[in-house]
Structure formats: C-alpha cells, structure tokens
C-alpha cells in the first residue's frame, strides 16, 4: 500500500507541475506598464511555492513507502517526541520565505495603489450597472457634469442611463460611450462608480481589477502599453446577468484617440 501511495502521489505531483510549467494555461500576455512587475513577482512566488509543493508531496510519498510496516520484528521505530532545534530552524526558514515574498511584492503594490494618477492622465469615468458598463469623458472643459439618480433611465442608454443633468453647463460636452477608448502609453485615470450593486472592473490583460462600489467614487490608474482590443469582464457577482456584463477597452495611438474624441465631442455640439 505504501508503494501505491508513493506512485499515485508522485504522479499527481509531477503531472500537475508539468502542466503548470508548460504554461498551456497562464496569465494572458500583459498589455500595461504594471504587467511586467506583477508577472515577475507571480513567477517568483510560483518558483518558491512550486519547490515547497514538489518537495512536500514527494517526501510524503517517499516516507509513506520507506517506513511502511514490513512485518519484520527487526524494523525499529525511533521513539522520539520531536526535535526543538529542527522546529526552530524550520520556523525561521518559512518566516523568511513568507515575509520575504511579502516585502518583495509590497513595493509593486505601493506603486500601483498608493499614489494618485499624474496630472496629465486621461480621465475616464467608468460606471457599472446591472448589466452594462458606461464610459464618460469630461470633454474640452475638463469637468464631469453632474448626474442625478432621479434622472436615470436605464433603457435610454448612454447619458440617460447615467442620469446626466443636462441643465449643468459642464455636462454639455461630456461624452458617454459603451466602448472604452484610450491612448497607448498614457496614464489612464479611472473613476469607478456603480449605480446599484457591487461590480468589479477587470481588465485581465492590463493586470487591473477594482470593485465598483455604489456610494463611492474610486480613483485608480493604469497605463496601457499595447494597442488593440482588450476584454473587460465583471469580476464581482452582481446578479442574474453577471456572466454577460462584459465590454471592450480599445487601446489606440494618441493621434487616433484625439481624432476619435474630437469626433465624439463634435457630435455633441
């Protein structure tokens, strides 16, 4: 039985490790300035934890086989209640590993989340509601116009869905769209809001995720580094249509972005 246990546990361990290393399924190719740092730290954690995983499972299988009851009276059991010195060494080693990993990742977290966006960042307000995302640009005046809950009309879509107050002068030039368009290599400041329940704005390729919480306006930022269309998926259970609350962020060159935004603003005139 010890041998069967060894074989099964070794097979499970080696097979699953091989599938990890093969990277058949892995994080998608990064498309933001934060991605290399995060991916690097993921890989570092992966290597250390992978070593612990393989070592622990292989030892478990080996020890179960090696110390199986062979039925002979010559097989001696070592009567021992443990070894304090080994315990201390082991405790110290794991503490160094876990605290070390934590400290390594802290600086990346700080750079992502401790600072406000730069002053010249492109500002986009992202609003989640059951079950759609809306994106608002402040227009040439640089100011988001007021929105009022009592004006909301979800079936109207666009500005109506957001409840934009057209009487507010600064709302006149606000642009509201269903697809997020941003320039490449510019910092994007996202102002996250929700009308109803909690949603989560997840851009896997950008290594970006943040819950949109009703009652809060959460300011975050990311910098796309590749052009193309990238998927947005809602990552917080928000009701029956959660699985289809998706969207697209289109990353384009600065010129294309300027042209696109100018055209949208012109439509407003």
């Amino acid at each position: 039985m010890g041998l069967v246990f060894l074989i099964v546990i070794w097979l499970i361990t080696l097979l699953s490790t091989a599938l990890f290393i093969a990277k058949t399924w892995w994080l998608p190719l990064g498309a933001s300035a934060a991605a290399p740092g995060i991916d690097h730290h993921f890989a570092t954690t992966f290597v250390f934890m992978g070593i612990v995983f393989v070592a622990a499972q292989l030892s478990l299988g080996y020890l179960a086989w090696k110390y199986r009851d062979r039925g002979s009276s010559s097989q001696k059991v070592v009567y021992s209640h443990g070894n304090t010195k080994l315990e201390i060494i082991w405790t110290a080693l794991t503490t160094i590993l876990f605290v070390g990993l934590n400290l390594m990742s802290s600086s990346i977290w700080a750079s992502e989340r401790f600072h406000a966006a730069q002053a010249n960042a492109v500002r986009v307000e992202v609003t989640g509601m059951q079950f759609a995302w809306y994106f608002r640009y402040p227009g040439p005046d640089g100011k988001f116009g007021a929105t009022r809950p009592e004006l909301e009309d979800a079936s109207a879509g666009g500005e109506g869905a957001l409840g934009l107050d057209t009487k507010d002068p600064s709302s006149k030039d606000d642009v509201v769209v269903n697809t997020m368009v941003v320039p490449v290599n510019r910092e994007i400041e996202v102002i996250l809001r929700s009308h109803d329940v909690i949603h989560s704005f997840f851009l896997p390729d950008m290594r970006f995720k943040q819950d949109a919480v009703p009652g809060l306006a959460i300011h975050m930022h990311f910098t796309p580094t590749r052009t193309g269309d990238f998927e947005i998926a809602c990552a917080e259970l928000c009701g029956m249509g959660h699985y289809k609350m998706h969207g697209i962020v289109r990353v384009v060159s600065q010129e294309e972005f300027d042209k696109w935004l100018a055209a949208r603003e012109a439509e407003k005139q």
Binding site: G2, F5, T45, V52, H81, N83, Q210, G215, G241, K244
Partner: protein
C-alpha cells in the same frame, strides 16, 4: 453536573464525582428521550453527523447540477428541467451555504467533537447536556429553513454564500432576493445561535470536566483542536449573527446599514447613507476564522491518526499545540485579505497581507511535524490512515496557493478567479472532508461496534483522492488564464470561452468523484449491520475512548472516572511490554 473544582484538576474523589454525575442525568428510557431529544453527547454527536451527511449529499448534488450547467447550459435535466443562469446562481449560493455551515462546521465539531471530546478527556458527558441538545435542534431548524428557500416564490437567493450587500439587501436586485433571501439570512442566524451554544459547551467541558491526570498538555491533539475551534466559534458567530440581523433590517425595516443611495434599473430604492464595505468587514471577520473552524478539527485528527498508524509518538506535540493556537489567534487578524479589491484602503492591505503570510508559518510547522511523525515509524495503511495521509497531501496543495492570494499585488489578477475556488475547495473543503472520512472510518468501530469494509474503504479512498485532484487542480489553470467564478456561462467573454475544454474535464472528473461517494454511503449502511464485529480497541490506540466498552455506555465509563498517567501518543516506548501504552496504564513514561 459535577465539576472539577480547580479549573479541571478534579479534587473530588472519583466515587464522589461519579455518583453526582449519575444523579445529574440518569439513563433515559423512552424512545423520544433516548434517540430524539436525547441529552447524551454521543447521541447528539450522531445526530449532528447524520444531519451533516444529509447536507453533504444535498450540497454535492447541487454542485453536480452546476457542473452540468457549465458545460451544457441548455440541457434539460430529468426532474430539474433547464437550469437558467439565475438558477445557477441560486445553486452556487445554496451549495456554498450548505457545505460551509451544515457540513464543514457541523460534522467535525458538532458530530465527532460532541461524541469524542468528553470521552477523550474522561468526562461522563458535556458540561451542559440540555444546552447541547438545544444547540443540535437549533442547527436542525436552521437547515430546514435554509432548504425552504428553494420552495418559495422566486426561489433561493442568488447573492452567493458571502451575500454581499447591496445585492443581498435589496428585494429588487434579482430573482431569489425576495423571500428566499430572507429565509437564507434567518437560517444563518439560527445556525449562529446553535453554534454559539455549542461553543460555550465545548469550552466549558474542556476546561472543567477533564479526568484526574488529564492535564491540558496531556490532551489528545483532537481535543486541543475542538477546544480552539470552539473559541473561534464563540468569537466569530456572534459577529455574523449581528451582521445578519442588520441585513434583515435593511431588507425589511427600511434601515440602511449596508445600502447607500442606489437605484435598481433606474428606480430609487429609498435607501441612503449605508456602507456596502461594512457588510464585507462583518462577514469576513466571521468568514476567515470560519475557514479554521472547518480545518482545525481535521488537523487534530490527522495528527492523531498519523501517530496511531505510524506506531510512533507525534513529532513536536507542543509545537502542534502552539501552531494551532497561533493559527486561531492570527485567524482573526487577516479578514481584510478577502477585500484587497473592495475599495478598502490600500495601506491596510499591507498589514493584512503580512499577517496572512504569517499564518503560513504555523501551517508549515504542522506539515513538517506530520512528515516528522511518519518518518522512522512503522506505517500501517488501514482506510483511516489513507485518508489522514490524503489530508496532508491536500492540505499542502491547498495551502500552497495561499501565499499567492495573500499578496494584494497578485490578487489584482487572481481575485474572483477559479484560482481562489481551487484554493479554498482543496484546503477548506476537500481536506476537511478527508478529515471527516478519516474520522468516520477510525471511530466507526467504537460508535457502532463493527468495522467498516476495508476493501470498499480503499476503493472509496483512491477514487476520491485522485478524483478530487482531477476536479480541483485544473481550476488553478483556469484561474491563471483569468477564468472567473460565478459565471453561469462562458459564452459571452471570448477568452473565457476558450477555456471550455478545462470545464469539460472538471465536470467529467466530478461525475466520477461524486459517484464514488456512493461506495462510502453503501459501506456505512452495510457495515452498520453486517460489518465484522469490532474489539474494544481495534487500532491498538492509547487514548481514552479505546478503554470503554463498545459502544460506550451512558456516562461513558460505567460510573467510574478514569485516572490518567501518560500522554496521548506513547507508541513503541522502549521497555514497554507492547508497542502502545494506554493513557490509563500505570506510568511508564516520565512527562516529556
């Protein structure tokens, strides 16, 4: 009820205390008092166990429906019909709630803890037998109320077992958020009350009812685990109970604890000023210790069984006790790691992350000591040992993904993906359930006087062990590719649709794993009647339950109180006449 005067160090003479105990509650006669409203901790333990057994098969059936829906979304199933996306969300809500509360909290603690804690510490019963009966029947009512949610208008709630507000707080936020959601909250509140009563009983019993010679540091690690679990329960369930009451008020009395000014589909709800994050703080202040409530008893049991079947003392008894205490202590300071993406201050993520990583240290100590226990032993492989070894393997696998999720910077990507599902199912779900299986195979002979079939036990072990890995290992890959949990269909997001082959594999693996649980069910019922007759101590183990007759009589030790002379793990003691020394044998081992 007799109590040792000096904090458990019984001062009364054995006879005196025994007579008082017998006076306190005599053996019941009628069927109702003996089997239904029994005060006997052993009957109550079995009641908890069988409640959990019904619950686990219910929860498993729901997960099967979910897995079928994930790969065949439009399939029309016999009896059930077609599963709609919102019904899928109801299934996952009920699956999680049933499994976490009525299986993982109920069987290891309420079931085995109730049955064996008093016996292992040499007590005639729990400290408060009436309270014990009440806590079971409260839990039972909670379960019935939860199942009722399926049958009301709108069906069961769709807000997930975590019930995040405002989704869970507004009747209009989706189907199932009407009466179903109210029943869900009421059920959890009832469960909390039962769990609080149970916790008080366990703590008092451990502190005050230990037999002479049973110092705290001579308790089997199972008793330590139940004791620490009870403390966690006492501190955690009260918070969930109050959270649940506030949520119920938000839903029905117009208060706004968790709901800010929100609109549903453009309609104002009349709420304003509440904080959705407050619910998350309250929920996870309970929710994270709950993970340890589920796993600690299994840890204690694994330690016990590895020592028994390696015929060797546990490696580092004191380290094991301190590790469990630090896990319990730290467990209350890490709830924020569930909220890194919630909008909570990013500075607090720092502290929560560091403390969460710190919990990895005592967990690693435990694994190290389990390996140290089997090393240089002489291993026997009956079914309970296989499940104990399987537990260690699953604990390592489930634990290893913890340090990924504990780092907020990695959580940016991994939060809410299947990577999380893999992590907590392996460590909190499957590993804990392996503890329940191990305990069943190990204690069945004591509880029912018969052995379970070894052949069926092995089949059950191998299919479940390989099957569980086949179901949950691919979830890591699915999550690393960005696959999101709580998505009823993968059709809408292109990159998630690409991952469908993995989902198919997991569903097929789930079919096999779930089917093999019927081997266990058959073994359990068949052995009750036809199993080989068990001796009083079939595993040649040292702890007190193996000194009683089988099954143990009312008040356990036949009216006398055992006196202990040895620690719980004295195997292969040099110079001893056989390879194990009972805790009640005359002292042969100097205190270690």
């Amino acid at each position: 009820m007799a109590r040792g005067a000096g904090g458990g160090e019984a001062i009364m003479t054995t006879q005196e205390s025994a007579s008082r105990e017998l006076h306190a509650h005599a053996a019941p006669q009628g069927f109702i008092r003996k089997y239904v409203f029994s005060l006997d901790h052993k009957v109550i333990g079995l009641q908890y166990y069988f409640l959990a057994l019904v619950a686990v098969f219910t929860g498993m059936f729901l997960s099967l429906l979910m897995r079928i829906h994930l790969i065949w979304p439009t399939a029309v199933l016999p009896l059930v019909g077609e599963i709609k996306p919102e019904a899928y969300l109801s299934l996952l809500t009920m699956h999680g709630t049933i499994m976490v509360f009525f299986v993982l909290t109920t069987a290891p603690q309420g079931g085995f803890g109730n049955y064996f804690l008093p016996i292992q510490i040499g007590a005639p019963d729990m400290a408060f037998p009436v309270l014990n009966m009440l806590s079971f029947w409260t839990t039972f009512v909670g379960f019935v109320v939860l199942l009722a949610a399926f049958f009301v208008t709108g069906g069961a709630p769709l807000h997930g077992w975590t019930g995040y507000a405002p989704l869970s707080a507004l009747q209009s936020s989706g189907p199932g958020e009407g009466a179903g959601a109210d029943l869900w909250i009421i059920s959890i509140a009832i469960f909390c009350i039962g769990a609080l009563m149970g916790s008080l009983n366990f703590i008092t019993t451990t502190l005050d009812m230990r037999a002479k010679g049973m110092s705290m540091m001579r308790m089997p690690l199972t008793c330590w685990a139940w004791f620490i679990t009870a403390i966690l329960g006492l501190l955690a369930f009260g918070v969930l109970l109050s959270g649940g009451i506030l949520l119920l008020m938000d839903r029905n009395l117009g208060s706004s604890f968790f709901v800010p000014l929100v609109t549903i589909n453009g309609q104002l709800t009349g709420h304003k000023g509440g904080s959705p994050l407050l619910w998350q703080h309250l929920f996870w202040f309970f929710g994270h210790p709950e993970v340890y409530i589920a796993i600690l008893p299994a840890m204690g049991l694994a330690s016990q069984l590895l020592s028994v079947f390696s015929r060797k003392p546990i490696f580092g008894y004191k380290a094991m006790v301190y590790a469990m205490l630090s896990i319990g202590f730290l467990g209350f300071m890490v709830w924020g790691h569930h909220m890194f993406m919630s909008g909570m201050s990013p500075y607090s993520a720092f502290a929560f992350s560091l403390l969460t990583m710190a919990i990895g240290v005592p967990s690693a100590i435990k694994t190290f000591n389990w390996l140290g226990t089997i090393m240089h032993g002489r291993l026997r492989f009956p079914t309970p040992m296989l499940f104990a070894l399987g537990f260690v393997s699953l604990f390592v696998t489930g634990g290893i993904s913890g340090p990924f999720l504990a780092q907020p910077v990695l959580d940016i990507f991994l939060h809410e993906t299947y990577f999380v599902i893999a992590h907590f199912h392996l460590i909190m779900g499957v590993a804990s359930i392996f503890g329940i299986f191990a305990a069943t195979y190990y204690w069945f002979p004591k509880m029912f006087g018969r052995m379970m079939s070894e052949t069926l036990g092995r089949w059950h072990f191998w299919l479940t062990f390989v099957g569980a890995y086949a179901v949950f290992m691919p979830m890591h890959y699915y999550g690393m590719a960005g696959g999101l949990r709580r998505y009823s269909q993968s059709t809408e997001v292109a990159y998630i649709l690409n991952l469908l082959p993995l989902q198919k594999f997991m569903t097929f693996a789930a079919f096999v794993t779930i089917s093999s649980q019927f081997i266990f069910l058959f073994n359990l019922s068949w052995s009750l009647k036809y199993g080989e007759k068990a001796s009083d101590n079939p595993w040649e183990a040292t702890t007190l339950e193996w000194t009683t007759v089988t099954p143990p009589p009312h008040v356990n030790f036949g009216g006398h109180t055992p006196v202990l002379h040895n620690g719980p793990y004295e195997y292969n003691v040099p110079g001893a006449r056989r390879d194990y020394v009972m805790q009640t044998d005359p002292e042969v081992v100097k205190a270690h």
